[in-house]
Amino acid sequence: MESVSTTAELPVHVRMPRAFARPVLSACTHVGRFGMMLVELARALPEWRQWLPRTFEQCENVGYGSLFIVMLTAGFAGAVTSLQAGYQFTGSVPLYIMGAVVAESIILELGPVLTGLILGGRIGARYAAELGTMRVTEQIDALEALGRNPFSHLLLPRILAGVVMVPVLVMVANVTGLFTGWLAAKGSLGISDLDFAYGSRYFFRPFDLWYSLIKAEVFGIVVTVIPCYVGFTADQGAEGVGRAATRAVVLSSVTLLILDTVLAKLLL
């Protein structure tokens, strides 16, 4: 109470800069710690005997474990895109355009972004909660006390699993979305297979797939590096772990959406 009244008694020209300085200092601290984490990750790369076997385990976790939810999301996204395009375009443009709308929407945007957001929630929360719990139960301290490097044992396998598996999942999402989009168009609008295939290829350029892959790679880094940092630096207690999980999902999702816009501007 004493400190509150003391602060309140401070003149405005002291209180105002303080109010601004705290978040700025906090942000600078996080930037510095995040940078240090990236440096430590790079230094842990030669310790491949530690991170390689664990990366395979995490790949199974991220890849196989997320396959169903990714296919489900992409499947519905493809079908809805097809149905809404049909609702908007029927009677105004040739039906084969449906193929182009579905293919381009899925490959350029919906496949990578929806997969990224789903994985940001699924593996982002998991990573932050796992690492946060390890932090507050002193398991990370224990690893360090044993002379082992937590970056090669815990962080690098999780991040590399995302870098490897997210592009694979995005390609699966693209194929699933296209397939359900085609089924929906065929079933509700009566478009022929040939027309759909013609439309899909009409606006398609090979770079579209590269663009989708580049986005997937970037999103794979975002949805693993940020949750790993947040979990690794979690505060004490169960509340700290909960806060870390929430923050990891929010931060990775917002960063993903910002980078989605930046990449569209830079690459298209």
Binding site: R43, D141, E144, G147
Partner: protein, 250 residues
């Protein structure tokens, strides 16, 4: 030999260590006493570089811990076993895998036969049944977790053993058994040990020397007789709880 000289540590506005001087000679067991929240565990973590001092020196075997490069710090940590308060076992691994992770030498760590024998030996030393090796940490009681944590700490055959509150949360019978285990390990492994505790009776039982941490400083360090004889009101107040029992023992 472990030596801390003028170590200061603060977290935000809270001063935890305020110029601590603390020495542990080779081969002895020192109990670090103090009420909860006085910074005993913080001091212990300085010894293996899990925390760095704001100022002051932390020396182990003549090496300045805060200044060691990463590789040398890892090598030093291989010589120091740390038994955490709640065991800090990796909950995604079995007890076997946990203890195996304590084997410092990489070639030994990859040798399954060596690991099997070493894990069995460590379990025997901490009086745990061999079947425990297959269990997950969640299947163990609090006391078993602490023992498994100690087994992991000794798996790398360290020269130093640091115990963080080994008897906290245990019933009196298990606390006595833990004290006996610390004594037994001291005899069998000939390690230099630091036991952080707020259990006066147990500390007098296992330690060659005792130190009391109070308000960020070592208030008194000496043999049990010196503790018994002191008229320092702070030390007396802390000992009072078990004083009658200690008098009866001496």
């Amino acid at each position: 030999m472990i030596e801390l000289r003028g170590v200061h540590k603060r977290f935000g506005a809270q001063v935890v260590l305020d110029g601590v001087d603390f020495t542990v000679e080779q081969g002895e067991t020192v109990a670090l006493l103090g009420p909860s929240g006085t910074g005993k565990s913080v001091l212990l973590k300085h010894i293996i570089g899990l925390l760095l001092p704001d100022s002051g020196e932390v020396m182990v075997d003549g090496l300045s811990v805060p200044e060691l490069p990463r590789n040398e710090l890892a090598r030093l940590r291989h010589r120091v076993g740390y038994a955490f308060q709640m065991g800090a076992l990796f909950d995604s691994m079995t007890v076997y895998e946990n203890i195996r992770l304590g084997i410092a030498e990489e070639s030994c760590y990859r040798d399954k036969g060596f690991c099997d024998a070493r894990v069995a030996e460590c379990l025997r030393l901490v009086n745990l049944a061999p079947e425990v090796a297959r269990k997950m940490p969640a299947e163990l009681s609090g006391g078993m977790k602490k023992r498994a944590g100690i087994a992991r700490a000794i798996a790398g055959e360290p020269s130093y053993l640091l115990y963080d509150e080994p008897t906290s949360g245990l019933d009196p019978v298990n606390a006595d058994a833990m004290d006996a285990l610390i004594g037994q390990l001291q005899e069998e492994l000939h390690v230099t040990s630091v036991v952080v505790s707020h259990d006066v009776r147990g500390s007098f039982h296992v330690a060659d020397r005792i130190a009391l941490l109070h308000e960020g400083k070592i208030r008194l360090a000496g043999r049990s007789e010196e503790f018994m004889a002191t008229q320092d009101p702070v030390v007396r107040e802390f000992l009072d709880r078990d004083f009658q029992l200690l008098q009866a023992r001496h």
